[in-house]
């Protein structure tokens, strides 16, 4: 059955315009690895070089934010859906 990863609008172009991608994975990390394997460059859009999720990127296992679970090591049941969403970040931002 695998895992479904639902992608936000800004990332669909990287996935061939797909809103959802199906992968085989037992953890969130494995799911992102599989996503990177199919669409090279996708990991950099989601994670910093340190391996951490980017600050304003959230991944939900169904309705739970993985930051509240085991992070990227969160187990993903077969048939589950991961939702990639960016934070509500308001109007303030870093200047130049």
């Amino acid at each position: 059955m695998g895992v479904t990863i639902r992608l936000p609008g800004p990332l669909r172009e990287r996935a061939g315009r797909r809103a959802a991608v199906h992968v085989e994975a037992a953890t969130v990390r494995q799911a992102l690895d599989a996503l990177e394997h199919r669409f090279p460059g996708m990991r950099f859009a989601l994670c910093e070089e340190t391996g951490r999720l980017r600050p304003y990127v959230n991944v939900f296992l169904e309705t739970e934010n993985i930051r509240d679970l085991q992070g990227l090591e969160t187990p993903v049941p077969d048939g589950a859906t991961l939702h990639v969403l960016h934070s509500v970040a308001g109007g303030a931002g870093a200047g130049a």
């Binding site: 800004p10 990332l11 460059g41 950099f44 859009a45 989601l46 910093e48 070089e49 340190t50 391996g51 951490r52 980017r54 304003y56 990127v57 960016h86 934070s87 970040a89 931002g93 870093a94 200047g95 130049a96």
Partner: protein, 366 residues
Amino acid sequence: MPAGRKYPKGTVVLAVGTKRGLFLLTSRDRRAWKPDGPYLAGRRIFHAVLDTRDGARLFAADNGDFYGSFVRYSDDFGRTWKDPVRTIAFPEGGGLALKNIWIVEPGRAAEPKTVFAGTDPAALFASRDGGRTWELNDGLQRHHTRARWQPGAGGLCLNSIVVHPTNPRRMWVAISAVGVMRTDDGGQTWTFCNKGTRADFLPEKYPEFGQCVHRLIPHPVNPDILYQQNHCGVYVTTNAGNSWTEIRGNLPSDFGFPMALDRHHPETIYTVVEDDTRSNVGDQFTVYRSTDAGRRWQRLTRGLPKGPTVRLGVLRHGMCTDALDPCGVYAGTNTGQLFASRNRGDSWKMIADYLPPIYSVTATVL
């Protein structure tokens, strides 16, 4: 007109990077300006430059809010964009994460496929294939003082890149809160070039490094001459950075961000300085010009706004000149006004308003 070319030869193209996208303003006579864009709408474009060494490739330092930073490029003046195949990134697991890309700088005329980029955390990246792939300069990263570099309020940003026009082994970079550095071996090793520049915010006023240089620009003819606008003054070097001389002269403030010069009259330099509120000194927004390499500065105000509510600032990449004679001068504010002069700064006109905060302005004559 060739396929892909949108503007006729002789057009002045301003690439305006803003907090919410990239705008192009073009003109044949520098009187009437036509805006195009926004391209890369909604994204933080710290810097954009049109590289005409081989065609007309538009580079943009795209620091999107959520999904990473990239130097994207377009060969049709912004209508379509390509991403790098190997992007700007630090080594995985190395402890550093890219925050922002601050500047994209085309390389020497003799190496038309070489492009450089400066980032926060401070690092130099190079592309040898017109932006398709990028490599980190290890020499700068391995500098023996690297662990002691501390960021300024704007970040630990490598904000300026100057390549020697004919010596491929020499180039300079400027890093906020670190200073100016130079390589003489093609980037393998780097030395500080901060002698004579002040760091009033440190216990030692003339340290080896730690100076907050905001902008570094080269003389168009003599590669041993460079100018810098610094947190603590304006300086010139005539010996390739071995030492610096302060040229604040009669400027009303030590503090400012941008610098530009007239390529046909390189003794003519421009800057904008600010007061403690980080906006114009007094009620008059002013561009300052020196025609004697910084000995004395003139206040340029004709056509620039004045009033009790006028509080404008120009960021470090927000001012530039074009390559025509008399040169055009362009200043974009962090509140979205773009001012232009077609007569070396003698008079000004606002050519765009209500833009998002302007991060950078570059000018290219096709």
